[in-house]
Every structure is written in C-alpha cells, then in structure tokens.
Symmetry: C2
Subunit: 302 residues, 2 copies
C-alpha cells in the first residue's frame, strides 16, 4: 500500500466523484466546500452542473475520473449501474492507479462489493463499500450514517472525508460488511413499515381518529421513526418519495438473495417484498415507501 | 347520570380494584398513596397482600367490590377472565350501583368492551375501556399510556384517577375505541418485532458484529423502541419477559378477529401471529416477545 497517499488533505488529495443524483450532489458538495479538488462524472452531464459551477472538473468517463484521482466515490442507482461504472472498458477499475482507493456508497449487493474489492487489489488499489442512510436531508446537512466494509486502515485514512458527509460513521468489517449492515437497516424498516401501515389500516377500519391514535402510541413500545415521520404523511395523503418503492424493492431483493445464500429464512421480509412488488406493478413504483398503506387498502395481495 | 358522583376526591369517592398482578399492584398502589379508600379482589388473595398492608380492604367477590365502590377498576389476564369478572353471578355487573363507573384496563376485545358498556347502561351505570401500555416500569413510575373508550364526560370525570397512573392519557372515542387503539399499538409492535429479529438473524448469518450494526442503524430510519430495548436483550441471550409471548398472541388474535369483522386484511400481523403461535407450541409461550428471534432461528415456520 502506498502509505504516502493515505494522508488525506485538500492540498494533497485529488477526489473523484461519480453519480450526482440528489444524494451525490449534496455529499460531493461538502467535499468541494471543504477545499478538495474534485473531478466528476455522471451519466447525465446536466445533473452535475451545480458541482461544475462550484469548481469541480468534468471527466468524460469513470475511467478518466479514476485516472486523475486518489480517492474515487461512486453513488449511482442499481447494482447493474455499479457494475457498469466499475467493470466497463472505460470503467473505474480500468483507470484506478496503484494505491488508489474507490468507495462505493450505492446500496448494492455485498457480493458485488467483494468482487470490486478483489479486482481493485489485483492492481494494488483498494475498495471500500460504504452505503449510507439518512436520505436527502441527511446528505444535505452532512449528517448521514455511513456503514463501512473493507480494509480497516483504509477506512481510518478516509475518516476526514467521511466526516464531511456524516455524523455516524461505523466500520463494520471486511469487504461487503457495509452493504450487509445496510441490509440489516432495510430489514428493520420493512418490519416497521408493514406494522405502521397495517396499524393505520386497522385504525381507519375501526373508525378511530388516527391522529388521536398516534398521540397514544408514538411514545411507547410501538414508537419508531416510521410512525413519527411517515404516518403523518400517510394521513395527509402525501405519498411522494422520500424513499422510492422501486429502490426499496431493489434493496429487499438483495437482502433476500443474500439470505438464501446464507441458508436463513426471512418470512417477514419476503412478505413485505411481495406486497411492494405488487404495489409497484400497480403503478406505485415511484411513490414513497409509505405507499404500502395504499397497497394494503387495494388488498390484491394474499 | 348521577352528577354528584362525578366529583372525584379521596374523601368522597370509594374505589374498587380487581386484579392485582404486576400491573394492577403498581397502579392501585398509586391510588392508595394518594389517599383513596380502596376495596380489592383478586382470584389469588396472596397477590393482594401488598395492597391490604397499605390499607386496602378485602372483598370476597367482584360483586362485593362493586357494591362498596363508586369507581371500579379491573385489570386481569385474558378476555375470558374479563367476561367472568363482569358477567358471573357474583360479578361486577351484579353489584354495580346506579351511577357507578367500571373501568376495564385489561387489553381485551373491543366487542367485549361494548358489551360491558351496554350492560352497565341498563342499570344506569357506566363503563370505560382503558387499556394501557408502558409495562411494569410504566406502571411502577405512574407513566403509563392509557387509551380510553366510552362516554367522554365520564372520561373527563375520572382524569384525577388516571393522572395518578399515567403520563399519556388520550380519549379515543365511544366504547371499544380504547381497545381498538391498543390493537393499533400491538399491530405496530408486531411489525417492529419481526423487522428487528429478522435483522439480527441476518446480521448473525452475515458474520457481522451485531453491536456495531446497532451503532449504525438505531438512530436512523430503522430506529424503534424494539431496536433500542429488545435487540440488546436478544444479544445478551436474555429472553425473560418483559411482555410474554402468550399475552401477545392473545392480543394479535383479538386484532385479527376484529379485522376480519371489518373486512380488512393484515397480512403482516397474520404472519407474525402464526410464527409466535408456533414458537409458543415449542415452549416459548412464557418467554418475552423477543423470543421471536429464537423462533426464527428454529425456522420451522413456512
């Protein structure tokens, strides 16, 4: 490992950034504001304009971002996008210099994270998987939670960068462990979501005043982020994302695939995944995850 | 209604208390300490000794408690116990004076609450359903949540008594509405429980350090009471109740019965109910609800 590269400062470290959606835009913005020189690439160039106006340089491929950077961050959409960004002929791995570090912050499969890590090591480079939670608000405020897998000393080296984006940064273990941890997060959310949505369906069926019900139950043993944040949106008929149904289905699919490989059963997650898939098929795919409430009312499942 | 009875003070109001389990013992204790004269009954007299030593009087039947009280509280085990306490020949309803008020704080069926309310009205007496959440700690500290159904002016009249037991007291609507609200609470818990337990099963399967996983996920969108309070117990292999599996199965059964009568489907609750029933059949009935984790590992379900 090129220890010389591991001292991270705005003067000595060149940053690459691939993926300038809502999350990436905010996260990369924090690095630029901290004084880092950043080279960006995005499939749709217009979505990178905010960063280019802040002083970022443009590169015309992931490979060229990697060539001109010491540390490359990626945060794109689906596992197939990650695969393309890393493994294509003009991908990150084709440009990553020896000693370079790439950090995938997309929520993707632990197996893919391991694959990238192995491939990076072949060129004496390094890869971390570092998915986040906290949504667009967490990204904007630099208060994300980052769950990190990969070489522990690489993780420590990158702390100055992670700290610019997040308030909760935890090293979880070897390559893939960050993604596995994100799956743990999503599995809990699948449960809180079905619980909260079914509870509101019941409240409506029983003719209760749902706002009074929330007054009774939000601070006790039923208390959860979903009840605090999404139940009020459901009651206002606000089904905008937040976090999109189709992205959640992607995450649940990864967790279920991995669980099958581990030989464990997740009956609750399987059920929630199924209900969401039916909801997506009926046109809820680009709604927020709270649309599970509507899906339950539509009641085609089971 | 005998408005004269509705001014509730330790000097003018005689209290009856039926059910001196862990919850009832603490709750009734608060009333005695506030200066109220209390007459108690419990199926097993020994369990009432603490209250008798504090100055409570003993009555040998629910009927005799009702005869000598203006306001009668009941908190027993299962719906069939409530039915017995109220409808037996020597039950509460056989002794309730005109203008008397009975308050069932057991978690029981909304239909049964309505039945008691109608029966009480026949003798110009009143009934509230007022189930609680907050567990033994909430009961001991007088910080329960009480969800109340029945006549709203009766609810207001009893506030001085509820305030001695609870910090969150919400009127929910007509007879049965308190019980329906408690069902809403339990439905959310069924979801958070399956989410948290499956997440920990996944974490173990993936070889993660579960304490680090909790560090990453407890403060974000997966955050919930179950994760904060029961996940650490699971990781310490502590499956003591807390809240007993068999009691939770009782509650879920009520919610599912009611939902069928409403013509709504609760697929998540149905699944969790099924897994818990299998867990109970395998000997987990008197464990805490966090034993769902063990049930998932045993994996006989599905």
């Amino acid at each position: 490992m090129n220890q010389g590269k591991l001292k991270i400062t705005p003067d000595s470290t060149l940053i690459g950034w691939i993926g300038t959606g809502v999350m990436g835009l905010h996260m990369c913005g924090h690095l630029i504001r901290a004084g880092y020189n950043v080279t960006v690439f995005n499939r749709t160039r217009e979505k990178a304009l905010t960063l280019l106006n802040m002083g970022a340089k443009w590169a015309d491929s992931p490979q060229n971002v990697a060539r001109s950077s010491d540390v490359i961050f990626t945060i794109v959409g689906f596992p197939q996008d990650v695969r393309q960004v890393y493994f294509d002929n003009n991908g990150v791995l084709a440009g990553l210099p020896a000693g370079g570090i790439c950090v995938d912050m997309t929520t993707t499969s632990p197996s893919l994270a391991q694959e990238i890590s192995i491939k990076a090591l072949e060129t004496n480079a390094f890869a971390l998987d570092a998915p986040v939670s906290g949504g667009d608000i967490g990204a904007r405020e630099g208060k994300l939670s980052i769950m990190i897998g990969g070489e522990e000393n690489i993780f420590h080296a990158l702390m100055p960068l992670f700290r610019l984006m997040a308030s909760n940064i935890v090293y979880q273990g070897p390559a893939g462990a960050g993604q596995h941890t994100k799956m743990c997060n999503q599995i809990v959310i699948a449960g809180t979501m079905i619980g909260v949505c079914e509870s509101l369906v019941y409240a409506a069926g029983a003719g209760l005043d749902p706002l009074r019900v929330l007054e009774s139950i939000t601070r006790g043993a039923a208390g959860c982020w979903t009840l605090d944040n999404l139940a009020p949106r459901i009651l206002r008929n606000d089904f905008d994302p937040g976090f999109m149904v189709d992205h959640f289905i992607k995450d649940m699919g990864i967790a279920l695939d991995e669980s099958r490989q581990m030989g464990i059963k997740l009956p609750g997650l399987s059920l929630v995944d199924q209900i969401y898939k039916e909801a997506s098929a009926r046109g809820h795919g680009r709604n927020g995850t709270q649309a599970l409430y509507q899906a339950l009312l539509e009641g085609h499942h089971q």
